[in-house]
Amino acid sequence: MRTHKEVVIPHSVLMSVQSPGRYVGGEVNRIIKENIVKALEDTGFTSAVRIAFCFPDVYEIGMSNLAMQILYKVFNEPEWCSCERSFSPWPDMDKAMRDNNIPLYTLETKSPLNEFDVVCFSIGYEMAYTNVLQMLDLGGIPLRAAERSDDDPVIVCGGPVAYNIEPMADFFDAVFMGEGEEVDLELAYEIKKYKENNKKDRQALLRRLAQIPGVYVPALYKDEYDENGRFLSLKPIEEGIPEVITKRIITDLDNVPYPTEPVVPNMTTVHNRAYIELFRGCIRGCRFCQAGYIYRPVREKSAQVLCDNGIAIEKSTGYDELGMLSLSTSDYTGLAELTDGLLNAYEGHHTSLSLPSLRIDNFAMELMKKISSTRKSGITFAPEAGTQRLRDVINKGITEEDILKSIRLVFEGGWSTIKLYFMLGLPTETMDDVKGIADLAIKIEDLYYEIAREKDIKVRRPEITISTSLFIPKPFTAFQWEAQDSIESLGEKQRYLKSLIQKHRSINYNWHGFETSVWEAVLARADRRLAPVILEGYKKGCIFDAWDDMFKYETWLQELDACGLTVDQFIGAIDVDAPLAWDHINIGVTRKFLALERKRAYEEKVTPNCREKCAGCGAACFKTGVCYE
């Protein structure tokens, strides 16, 4: 039987932690369904489905997450369903809660997590896994799915990591594949029927959930390995359970609910702006990019709907900045219409637009002059690789000429701060490619002075920042079979790059630690054998692994070793024909296509983007979007 008991957080606890505003709720536009809680208090029963939506990172980051805002709206739409939010407590609050026996609760009605029917995690990155365990633990819920009883909530998750959730398979009862707007409610409805039936049988419920298209129930599958510890297969344990789970996507984005009245945090968050979502997917197909494959095919929202969204959301939030979300803003076909419409509607409001990942051309330059927000941060470019050869390998469809032409426009437009993003450790990379990064940056530096001379403008020193991240072979990419570069080799490359730009005072170099990337690669490609490692790591105090200063690489290596596993097992090269731990998931893009893309990468051949020429990736099976334009 479920009850409701409000968690009380003493003033002294809130006053003892950083940013207590994270833990109190009370925001504008939040939704509280008091009748449901009241029914529970009065009668000890409600057939309404209560969902705790959990984001395994701090409040400020979670509240800037669009998926959370979308699903919060979706779940709260039917009157038989209510959705409340919860976030990872920062270590200071984590400790205070344990010391004072305060269970993790939702912000809306301060209900402990174990009071809910469903606890739903939205996971954006693998490094958040230990925070999932932290939240379950603090919420009074058994960590392993196998240990949960009929009275425990059903623990589900979704997000990009779901496509290879195997390392976390032990902890989730069900996993959503793909976009959640429809499938989430189907699951909630199944739970509603289950509650109304009032016959407690968790096993039967899980089997029913497994019948919903796009829902994966890990406990109904069994994994196998060969004598060398290589992954062999993952198969249903019984008849009637689907062998392959196909992701769900939304066919018509214009007609899916969009949170134009999002919850607005009272405290200032990372981005502090409202968002509209231009389209899903990406036409480009960079071969290392998981997002580029898993969200296929590209589906756009119409400029008219987006403009209406933008107007409504400014009114309901009061934000003075509107962000446009998509994987590459410039590929949105209605961009001119949309920005004109919004700038018109916002006239005199001092509301600015932020357009990330905008490809710089004449149109973009004009746009940037009209909107104020880009000035603050400088202009960003992501060539990803330093030479044309390597850019062809990764299918980054831009040339050096394109880049320099764009940067010329930027300098001529009066900007002098440029950020360049590259990746180190890409397949086939040589020292020449590393040198290419420095060469490009130096060319950009020269270009600045050249333009300054030409235009006779006052010469400032340009600020050119090179950032390198490390290549991580992710499932469902053309490079899913590749090895990750070794720490030694990466170190050498970094030192070399640093030495090349040392004398150039206007060029700065930022890099990312190797160890977090290695661990991320392990989490991304591992199979079910990793679950006990994650559990032990959590018990040894690993949480907030995504935060560099909290990441404990040594602990992870020890735990891996204790389970008889090695890093190389998961980050080494995989045979192209070998079974993969995520073969039971179908994202539309076929394995055959990814293998072909890999071959073309080694041949240094570029594949045209979806709008130039369909490459036949397989995503046309969803019968929508760019494939049918």
Binding site: G21, V28, T268, N272, R375, K376
Partner: protein, 245 residues
């Protein structure tokens, strides 16, 4: 033409002319509950967003990053409730206080309420410089006895962190009056110095009660603090903030 449209047109005309007359709404507000746990900057942004939502002709600051022109009387610390804080909100044309209250009230989150608004035509002094005193209510078991006890002392030394160093301060001169008629055994009301020239933080009073009057640390940690009202002028002839021009 709709009223909103009329406003919009006037605002546009004004901004185009760079006309910067401040038509100020001196707003008294109270704060309690969840929203008390945010910082001063958060509260400023929250008011900024809410004022924007009203659609009223707000005056924006000049420069790269225009924001609604607002001046708060005195920052309100994290975890402190208030019954009488003030913010001056500038409009670019005259707006009636009634209309402002009517528009703002439904848009504020629970725990933020507008108590009253007076219209000020171009105030001469910044709201911040007006504040000299504040009344606080401190709630903890036996707090009134503690306050009475420390007020008999000639010197009350408390420690404060300033620029990373711990400095000792005598706060006795900053405590002006114990307000008997509003206090009970577990709720002490007092008037202290506040504002830019001399400001006593309620945490310091609680610290003194722990140090010199035997208040238990847990009770100090759990003490409820409410700022009751702000005043300007010289003690004992202090005046309400509304009365200043």
């Amino acid at each position: 033409m709709s009223k909103k449209k009329q406003y919009d047109e006037r605002v546009l005309a004004m901004t185009r002319q760079q006309h910067l007359t401040h038509y100020v709404l001196r707003t008294r507000f109270r704060r309690y509950g969840a929203v008390s746990y945010i910082g001063h900057l958060d509260l400023m942004n929250l008011f900024g967003r809410t004022v924007r939502k009203t659609g009223l002709p707000i005056l924006y600051s000049q420069g790269f990053n225009p924001r609604p022109e607002m001046v708060f009387a005195l920052p309100l610390g994290v975890g402190i409730n208030s019954e009488g804080d003030y913010v001056d909100i500038s409009m670019s044309v005259k707006v009636e206080p009634e209309e402002f209250i009517e528009k703002m009230t439904p848009l504020l989150p629970d725990g933020l309420e507008i108590v009253s608004v007076v219209y000020k035509d171009e105030p001469k002094n910044s709201l911040m410089s007006v504040v000299t005193h504040a009344e606080y209510a401190l709630e903890a078991p036996g707090i009134t006895d503690c306050i009475k006890k420390i007020m008999t002392m000639d010197v009350i030394e408390v420690e404060k962190k300033a620029k990373g160093k711990i400095v000792t301060n005598d706060i006795r001169p900053q405590i002006l009056k114990f307000i008997e008629e509003q206090s009970t055994a577990d709720r002490a009301c007092l008037m202290v110095m506040a504002g830019s020239s001399s400001n006593l933080r309620p945490e310091s009073i609680l610290q003194a009660c722990v140090r010199y009057a035997g208040l238990e640390q847990v009770h100090a940690d759990n003490a409820g603090v409410t700022r009751l009202c702000l005043y300007g002028g010289e003690y004992p002839n202090t005046k309400l903030i509304e009365d200043f021009v």
